[in-house]
């Protein structure tokens, strides 16, 4: 839906991500706001933003493999773990700098993701989903039982540094994480309008038909897994150097489920949806965290601290409600809102 009076006069305009000068204004001011946020945001908010942005990167990858390419994956947490451990091993044991380790860990996670995505060549739907769950457990088990990953002790990667400047606080990490998130978002947004993106969508909508029409299924399915795991790996690397301690207890199946939940709530096949989904779930989580002590006081039978249990229930219920009432997610609502805003005061 284009705003009234805006026409695409050339192909370049038609496929442009940012079309009007208003877009530019909004984008740039949002970016500025994002970057000066640490100046006035509270410490807690900054750390929340960091974890939000990392989740956004992971879910962006999931959006590409699941939302665009239609291959359901519950393995995102495991691939994030691979990224985190790769980055830690590179920086601690091999002495790489963070800046090289960051893309490398993405590539390693992506490469392993290709192996993990291999079952998708033969199976799909919930068979594939179960296979990715299996991959999750196998990966975590391997991490726990290999010597190089620090086994059960975990690893302690150093915070990134640049020319002697240490990014050792959350405020400093914030800039790195936000920049990476911005680049990754741009790349993902861009992907959706290229040949690759269209091939993904073809595979999602009907893989056999796509194959008949000349989409190389194997190549594109594996590519989708590579990209998704690349995203997860980069997010894992950021996570590792932000938290500065990694062990496999940080990457559980519940996290993987949470990412998929974010995707459902945000809306499949939409980049803004990723942001909505991540925000929704995280805010829900925080709200539950804050309210549960009050609830526990009001209702003693809930026990000492019902936060985790209530958080699970709230998350599950949110997904249930969205699946029933808004299966296309918040992104769909957002589109409706945008359209009605542009058309106001007319109905259509």
């Amino acid at each position: 839906m284009r705003p009234c009076g805006v026409f695409d006069k050339s192909y370049t305009l038609d496929i442009a991500i940012i079309r009007t000068w208003q877009h530019w204004v909004i984008l740039i001011s949002a970016l500025i706001l994002l970057y000066i946020f640490p100046l006035f945001g509270s410490y807690y908010l900054i750390s929340l933003m960091n974890s939000l942005a990392i989740s956004v990167i992971v879910v962006l990858g999931l959006q590409i493999v699941t939302g665009y390419c239609g291959q359901i994956s519950f393995g995102q947490a495991a691939f994030m773990a691979i990224g985190a451990f790769t980055s830690s091993i590179l920086t601690i044991k091999l002495g790489f700098s963070f800046w090289i380790a960051l893309p490398l860990s993405g590539i390693v996670a992506g490469a392993i993701g290709i192996i993990g995505g291999a079952p998708s060549l033969r199976i799909k739907g919930m068979y594939l989903a179960m296979a990715t769950i299996a991959i999750h457990f196998v990966v975590i088990w391997l991490i726990l039982h290999l010597e190089i990953t620090g086994s059960f002790k975990g690893l302690f990667p150093p915070p990134p540094s640049l020319g002697g400047f240490e990014f050792d606080t959350d405020e400093r990490m914030y800039y790195i994480i936000m920049t990476v998130m911005f680049i990754m978002t741009y790349a993902a947004r861009n992907l959706s309008r290229t040949t690759v993106g269209r091939a993904f969508v073809a595979i999602r909508d009907n893989d056999l038909a796509g194959e008949v029409m000349g989409v190389n299924l194997y190549y594109y399915k594996l590519l989708a897994f590579f990209i998704a795991c690349f995203y997860a790996g980069v997010a894992g690397s950021l996570w590792a150097h932000w938290i500065t301690v990694v062990d496999c207890e940080q990457f559980t199946l519940i996290h993987a489920l949470e990412y998929v939940g974010m995707l459902i709530i945000g809306g499949m096949g939409s980049i803004p949806g990723v942001f909505f989904g991540v925000l929704f779930i995280r805010i829900l989580n925080e709200v539950v965290m804050f309210t549960s002590p009050v609830l526990a006081k009001a209702l003693p039978w809930l026990g000492t601290s019902p936060a985790a249990a209530l958080g699970l229930t709230a998350f599950g219920l949110a997904v249930v409600i969205f699946l029933i009432f808004e299966p296309r997610g918040l992104a769909h609502r957002w589109e409706i809102f945008k359209a009605s805003y542009r058309l106001y005061p007319f109905a259509y």
């Binding site: 726990l144 059960f152 002790k153 975990g154 938290i243 000492t304």
Partner: protein
């Protein structure tokens, strides 16, 4: 339908937001300090944390009711981490800039390591279970009692005594069965060396994932390897479950089971008293029948929780944490006063609290500038007739941490 749903959601949201406002505004203006507990209240180690934190909370409540420590009230915050490191880290970050947050009790070895680094940077005191690595490295982390390996070593002493008292010759064979994670392996880092020094034959350790429902495989393997003693690790109800399976296999008659601090508590005992009969348990805090004799513990329990039947020994440990905290707070307040009070002062106070007595719940405090151990004494208990009764008095634990190169 959709409209209804939206209305419902918005109502929920407004309620939640107002609650947030309410809860944040309830930070009192009076003088107060904060004690943060990052504990797993609903996951694998909840059986330990819930009663323990109840103990701390009740003790703090009691102190506050009596006017606080020199007029300073203590605020207890318990966060459910669900044995999830990421959640724990983000929970700590939420409170990281809270003024007068002095001590963080992070329960769980993985959590302690992750949050420990942040706490060390913030110069705050961290309390954590018996992870010997902290003793070896001496950060700003203090462990609750003796290190796991120390206590394990002490139990090996008991094993030798028991072996000899039964009139058997040769070396006893000891099996070790624990969780497949950092905590599960801690006992052996030093503990194994100590046992071997004593001449005990240690079987290859067995590890199983937390939450395993059945432990037959591991138990039969250890039994087949000829174990005379098996140390069943994990946190209640895990050790109870292990011994339940051993009982079902008929192993409890042939093999003496020993368990660590988090071995069968009142929780496990209430569920599988028959299977647990005769097993040995070592502990740095009073448990079982001993707890019921301790007036401090029983008074507090009666005051806030009611009937004594459900008293769990771990509750006493929680009280001991509270006592140590209050003791250290007194020292810190004396030296710098409330206004200037910071994490560092508390750190110094914890170092200077050597020999502090905690109503006999635990041995005298062993915190010092070169020691992170909460105490050095353990007591050995045995389950008899469905009750946990002591079979020794307080015994000093050997130093097994130093036997391992960390």
């Amino acid at each position: 339908m959709r409209k209804k749903c939206l209305i419902f959601l918005s109502i929920v949201l407004t309620i939640c937001l107002s609650m947030v406002g309410f809860s944040s505004s309830s930070f009192a203006k009076e003088k107060s300090v904060v004690y943060l507990s990052l504990a797993d209240y609903t996951g694998p180690i909840a059986g330990l944390n819930v009663p323990a934190d109840k103990g701390t909370e009740d003790y703090i409540k009691d102190i506050n009711a009596k006017g606080g420590v020199d007029g300073v009230k203590i605020k207890f915050i318990g966060i459910d981490t669900r044995y999830d490191v990421a959640r724990a880290v983000s929970a700590y970050k939420r409170y990281r800039r809270t003024p007068k947050l002095l001590v963080v009790n992070s329960i769980g070895t993985g959590i302690a390591r992750a949050v420990g680094r942040l706490l060390a940077r913030d110069k705050r005191v961290q309390l954590t279970p018996g992870d010997g690595e902290f003793q070896a490295h001496l950060g700003s982390t203090f462990i609750w009692g003796p290190a796991y390996q120390d206590a394990f070593a002490a139990s090996m002493d008991w094993v030798m005594d028991d072996w000899k008292s039964k009139g058997k010759s040769g070396a006893p064979v000891v099996g070790y069965l624990n969780w497949d994670n950092a905590y599960g392996r801690e006992h052996l880092r030093g503990g194994k060396q100590y046992a071997e020094k004593l001449g005990i034959k240690m079987l290859p350790p067995e590890f199983f994932p937390p939450g395993t429902l059945k432990h037959d495989v591991y138990l039969t393997r250890l039994a087949k390897a000829g174990a005379n003693y098996i140390h069943a690790g994990g946190i209640d109800p895990t050790p109870t479950n292990v011994i339940r399976d051993a009982y079902a296999l008929g192993l409890t008659k042939k093999i003496q089971f020993t368990t660590g601090y988090w071995g069968p508590t009142a929780l496990g005992l209430s569920v599988h008293a028959k299977a647990l009969e005769g097993i040995v348990n070592y502990s740095f805090f009073l448990r079982g029948e001993d707890t019921k004799m301790n007036k401090t513990v029983t008074d507090l329990w009666k005051k806030y929780r009611g009937s004594l039947d459900k008293l769990n020994g771990v509750y006493g440990m929680g009280i001991a944490w509270g006592m140590t905290y209050v003791g250290a707070l007194k020292i810190a307040l004396n030296s710098v006063g409330y206004e200037k009070l910071k994490g560092v002062d508390m750190y110094k106070a914890y170092q200077g609290i050597t020999g502090f007595e905690r109503a006999g719940i635990q041995g005298p405090c062993a915190y010092a500038s070169d020691s992170r151990r909460g105490s050095r004494e353990i007591k050995i208990y045995r389950v008899k007739g469905g009750k946990i009764v002591p079979i020794t008095g307080w015994q000093k634990t050997p130093d097994a941490v130093s036997l391992h190169k960390f």
